[in-house]
C-alpha cells in the first residue's frame, strides 16, 4: 500500500474516533472552565471555615508561607502557614496544616496558634480515616477541647489524668490510644519545626 492510501485507510477506519475524541475533549474543557473556579472556591471556603473555628477573632486568612516539615524516617511534607487577620489587618494568630500517620491511614490536621506561637488555639481534623466509633472520636469536642490553650511545647499523652486542666498533658481517648497518640505526635513533630522556620524568616515577633 502506498503511504497516501495507508493514511486514507487509517482515516477511513478511525474517523469516528478522531472526531469524537475532539468533541469529548471539548465537552470536558467546557465543564472544567465552567466549574473549576467554584471547585477552588469550595476548597478555600472549607479551609477558612475550619481555621475560623479555631481562631474566632480572625476575619480573614492570608497564605503567608509554604514550608516543608520533616516527619519521622525522612519523609517531608508540605505545610501551608496562614496568617489570621482581624478586620483592621492586625495579626491575631497563625494556622497551619500538618499531617502524619494515624491508625488506619494518614491524619491531616489544621492547627491554630496564637500570634507569638506560644499557645495552641486548638486543632481541627481535615481528613482522617480512623476506626469509626473509636479513633473517629479525635474529631469530637471532648478530645479537641483539651488542646485549647495548651503551651506550644512538647505535649505528652497520658492514659489517665485530669482532662479539665489545661497543660501539656493530654488524656488519651479510651479505646483509641493509637489515634490519640498520632494527633499528639503530629503536633509535637510539626510545631517546633514551624516555629523555628518562622523565627528564621522573622515572622514571629513581627505581628504586623
Amino acid at each position: 500500500m502506498s503511504p497516501v492510501s495507508k493514511i486514507k485507510h487509517f482515516i477511513q477506519q478511525s474517523w469516528l474516533l478522531i472526531i469524537s475524541s475532539f468533541c469529548f475533549g471539548l465537552l470536558i474543557a467546557i465543564a472544567n472552565a465552567a466549574w473549576s473556579p467554584r471547585i477552588e472556591q469550595n476548597r478555600i471556603y472549607k479551609l477558612n471555615r475550619l481555621m475560623g473555628e479555631l481562631l474566632p477573632a480572625a476575619k480573614s486568612f492570608e497564605l503567608t508561607v509554604e514550608m516543608k516539615v520533616e516527619l519521622a524516617k525522612g519523609k517531608r511534607v508540605k505545610s501551608n502557614i496562614y496568617k489570621a487577620l482581624s478586620d483592621e489587618g492586625g495579626c491575631v494568630g497563625w494556622a497551619f496544616n500538618c499531617e502524619g500517620p494515624g491508625f488506619q491511614d494518614k491524619i491531616e490536621l489544621v492547627v491554630g496558634v496564637d500570634k507569638d506561637l506560644e499557645k495552641v488555639a486548638g486543632f481541627n481534623v481535615l481528613a482522617s480515616n480512623e476506626t469509626p466509633g473509636f479513633g473517629d472520636q479525635i474529631k469530637l469536642g471532648y478530645y479537641r477541647s483539651q488542646f485549647v490553650g495548651v503551651p506550644a511545647e512538647k505535649l505528652e499523652l497520658v492514659k489517665t489524668g485530669d482532662d479539665e486542666r489545661i497543660d501539656s498533658e493530654i488524656v488519651a481517648i479510651s479505646g483509641a490510644t493509637v489515634s490519640s497518640e498520632a494527633v499528639v505526635k503530629i503536633i509535637n513533630l510539626s510545631l517546633p519545626q514551624i516555629k523555628e522556620q518562622m523565627k528564621e524568616k522573622g515572622l514571629i515577633g513581627n505581628a504586623r
Binding site: 469529548f24 475533549g25 470536558i28 474543557a29 472544567n32 473549576s36 524516617k73 525522612g74 519523609k75 500517620p101 491508625f103 488506619q104 491511614d105 476506626t131 493509637v178
Partner: protein, 196 residues
C-alpha cells in the same frame, strides 16, 4: 537507607494493611469470579500483578511528566483508562508472541483485567496519596498486585474446602463467598496500626 526503609514499609503496608481487595474494595468482580480453584486464582493474581505494576508506573510517569506539567489534570481519568487499556493490549500481544508458556498460564485473563477496578483504582490511589517519586510508585504497584494475589489465593483455598461443606441452598455461590470475604477482612483488620 531511609529510602529503602520507606519503600519496604510502603510495600508491606500495601500488601497487608491497605490490601486493595480487603480494605479498599477494589477488584471484587474477579475476586468473586475466579477464586474457585487455586491454580486459576494464582494465574489471575499473576496477571493482575504484571498489569498493575506496568500500569502504575506508566500512569505515574504520564501524570507527573505530562499532565501536571501542562496543567491537563482534568483529563486524568480519560488518559489513565486509555493508557491502561492500551498497555493491556500491548502486553497481551507481546506475551502471546514471545512467551507462549507464560501466555498459557495467565494469558486468558488479560483481556478481563482492563475493567478490573483494582488497576484504575490503584493508579488513582497513587495519585491521591501524592507519591512523588517513581521508585515508590513502582514498589507500591507491585505490592498491590502481590496483595491481590495473596487475597485471591487465600479465598481460593477456603472455597475449595467450602465446596465440600454443607452450605444452605440460598447461600451457595456468591453469598457465602462474600461472607467469607467479610471474615477475612475482619482478620486482616488486626494488621491495622502495624505501620506507624
Amino acid at each position: 537507607m531511609d529510602t529503602l526503609n520507606i519503600l519496604l514499609i510502603g510495600f508491606i503496608s500495601i500488601v497487608i494493611v491497605k490490601n486493595l481487595v480487603l480494605t479498599k474494595f477494589l477488584g471484587i468482580c474477579p475476586y468473586l469470579g475466579v477464586s474457585g480453584r487455586i491454580d486459576m486464582a494464582f494465574g489471575m493474581g499473576m496477571a493482575v500483578t504484571f498489569v498493575v505494576t506496568l500500569s502504575g508506573t506508566l500512569t505515574w510517569m504520564i501524570d507527573h511528566w505530562v499532565l501536571m506539567k501542562f496543567g491537563l489534570g482534568v483529563t486524568r481519568y480519560v488518559c489513565f483508562i486509555l493508557v491502561i487499556a492500551g498497555a493491556v493490549q500491548l502486553v497481551e500481544m507481546y506475551v502471546r508472541k514471545f512467551f507462549p508458556f507464560l501466555y498459557k498460564s495467565f494469558g486468558i485473563f488479560l483481556p478481563l483485567i482492563t475493567t478490573n477496578c483494582a488497576i484504575l483504582g490503584l493508579c488513582l490511589f497513587i495519585n491521591l496519596w501524592g507519591i512523588d517519586n517513581l521508585l515508590e510508585a513502582v514498589v507500591l504497584s507491585f505490592g498491590a498486585g502481590i496483595g491481590f494475589t495473596m487475597a485471591i489465593c487465600i479465598m481460593a483455598g477456603i472455597r475449595e474446602n467450602l465446596n465440600l461443606a454443607d452450605v444452605p441452598e440460598c447461600l451457595k455461590g456468591a453469598p457465602i463467598t462474600l461472607i467469607t470475604a467479610g471474615l477475612l477482612t475482619l482478620a486482616f483488620m488486626g494488621f491495622a496500626g502495624m505501620i506507624r
